[in-house]
Symmetry: C2
Subunit: 333 residues, 2 copies
């Protein structure tokens, strides 16, 4: 964002302003449930399916919030993102709907389908060679030459404010379902969604507590919450939950999570696959592995969850047919 | 229903009363969309995902409407349905939530999973041998002995009134999307959903026109609409779209459809599979073959559809993993 923008976490006023800008633009996703899932978890399970959001993940919310918050002259020059995944698609669509250019810097070995999809959503894709080039340098050069504004995927106040709209909706929907006290499990990469949801719940549903869920072996946020300082992961790849493999929680997101979240949870790759299969059979939604970890924790970590009900944010559904069918073949009924 | 109940199609007052009883019980499903689907169809495509409804199909709406409409003494004795599919699950859940018994008469060769699911939803499943027994006789005996009320799957005014709530929601949601004139394509078996949607649209969105969509070779409703009298299918099985293979449109549903619907459409099994794969990739929802025929017609019969937008009701998602994965393997990207 521009240099004058605050680098602190968004406050409630900023979150409400983002929600107003998202009205009629982001989809208000329902809360889903199934008695079969309740039985597995031993408590009531409510699922917020952000896979049904535009571009197949919650990322559209933060992207729209950030693009719409730019002053018109800055926005007209265009926006820039580094991403081979869900953030890229969110930025591409948000920019296209604002009729401004977007440039997405992606590694040249990214899946052809992701490159094609990002282009089809209206973005210019600039490929770089991971072995010999740094995306930051390419991005800085492009930004300088064209006056593009970089929109970071999570450590960005307006992005967090946009993701917080998931929490505002949960607060309303949980109240309508008669759920006043529950853990709200959130699939966690850099913590943009988790911290946004935590801030919204603090303001609007103090009986609901956000908790990050990560893949085992990539539980940087859980370890950071436990130690009280930012911890990093040893590896940056090598897990099926590719959408949420980040090196560490963000400088803005971590203090929010440290103040507001309950302890982190971690699940195995097979637990994520099993949750994908159950979401297919019982909820009729498509989840990607990284978007299924919160549901997996809700179902398979009952002893670590508190309350008569648990709410799981199913954060995305951008998964290829082969990965999905493999999960069904192994864990479907 | 009881013998005094009217056998005529529901009027708007009955439809509104059913919608009131469904409030807070049925899920209000969103309208989904994707620019990738718009591009295939050459017009705007809006999808009503009833696969996200309780029990995975729209059938819960009609079941709840019918069970909740019974007088309390009659209802307390319990309800009866013949079905091996979506209607069974809808009735089982609606009865369980009313805390009254339900008996579902199913063929003994029905898939074990469907039998288990129906039981898990609280129903008593009575199996019969298709070769040697008639389900009507078994049902009549049980109804007589226990005072159960038979709830038919589609040719039943309160069931049609419940399915009409899909049309009421579409009328509101289409208006919110700025769509005033469009064809509304509806997956059609016996016509309960199609006639209910048509009645709701007649009352609340006269610029929207319901049109039934069926599998090729099982297009009894399309042929009936063309000839002006009830036509039947030559076969009753042998198509992947099992949920919507009925012998003929109903005595109550057909006159409604004849008065209000545009011409019927039919799609092939492979077109249904291709629509399932596109719904997976672009909407992140799970459709069964019979629940995908309306989307298939919206995408692959553009010349037969009128208007700048088309609305497709995706009526159900109760499909096994093998059938789903085969569709993805053949038509997924």
């Amino acid at each position: 964002m521009d240099a004058r923008a605050p680098r602190a976490a968004p406050d409630l006023a900023m979150i409400h302003a983002a929600a107003s800008r998202l009205e009629g633009e982001a989809r208000r996703t329902p809360l889903l449930a199934s008695p079969f899932l309740d039985e597995i978890a031993g408590r009531r399970v409510l699922v917020k399916p952000e896979c049904l959001q535009h571009t197949g993940s919650f990322k559209f919310r933060g992207a729209w919030s950030a693009v719409s918050a730019l002053d018109p002259a800055t926005r007209a020059r265009g926006v820039l993102a580094y991403s081979s995944g869900n953030h890229a698609q969110g930025i591409a669509l948000a920019a296209a709907r604002h009729r401004v250019p977007s440039v997405i810097v992606m590694p040249s070995d990214a899946p052809q389908l992701k490159i094609a999809n990002t282009r089809a959503l209206g973005a210019e894709v600039v490929l770089y060679d991971r072995a010999t080039e740094a995306r930051e340098e390419i991005g800085a050069r492009l930004a300088e030459a064209r006056g593009l504004t970089l929109i970071k995927p999570y450590d960005e106040p307006q992005v967090i404010a946009g993701q917080a709209s998931v929490g505002l909706e949960i607060a309303e929907q949980a109240a309508a379902e008669g759920v006043a006290r529950a853990d709200v499990l959130v699939c966690c990469g850099g913590g943009g969604l988790t911290s946004g949801v935590a801030l919204a719940l603090e303001g609007h549903a103090p009986g609901l507590r956000a908790r990050p869920v990560e893949p085992e072996g990539f539980d940087d946020t859980a370890r950071s919450l436990a130690s009280g300082r930012i911890e990093t992961n040893a590896a940056s790849s090598g897990n099926i939950c590719d959408a949420i493999l980040t090196p560490a929680p963000g400088e803005i997101t971590f203090p929010v999570m440290a103040r507001l979240c309950g302890p982190g949870l971690a699940v195995s790759e097979d637990e994520a696959r099993r949750a994908m299969a159950l979401a297919f059979t019982r909820l009729k939604i498509v989840l990607e592995p990284g978007g299924a970890v919160a549901l997996a924790a809700a179902l398979f970590r009952p002893e670590a969850v508190q309350g008569d009900a648990v709410i799981a944010v199913a954060s995305g559904g951008n998964v290829d047919a082969t990965t999905f069918s493999e999960a069904l073949a192994r864990f479907g009924t």
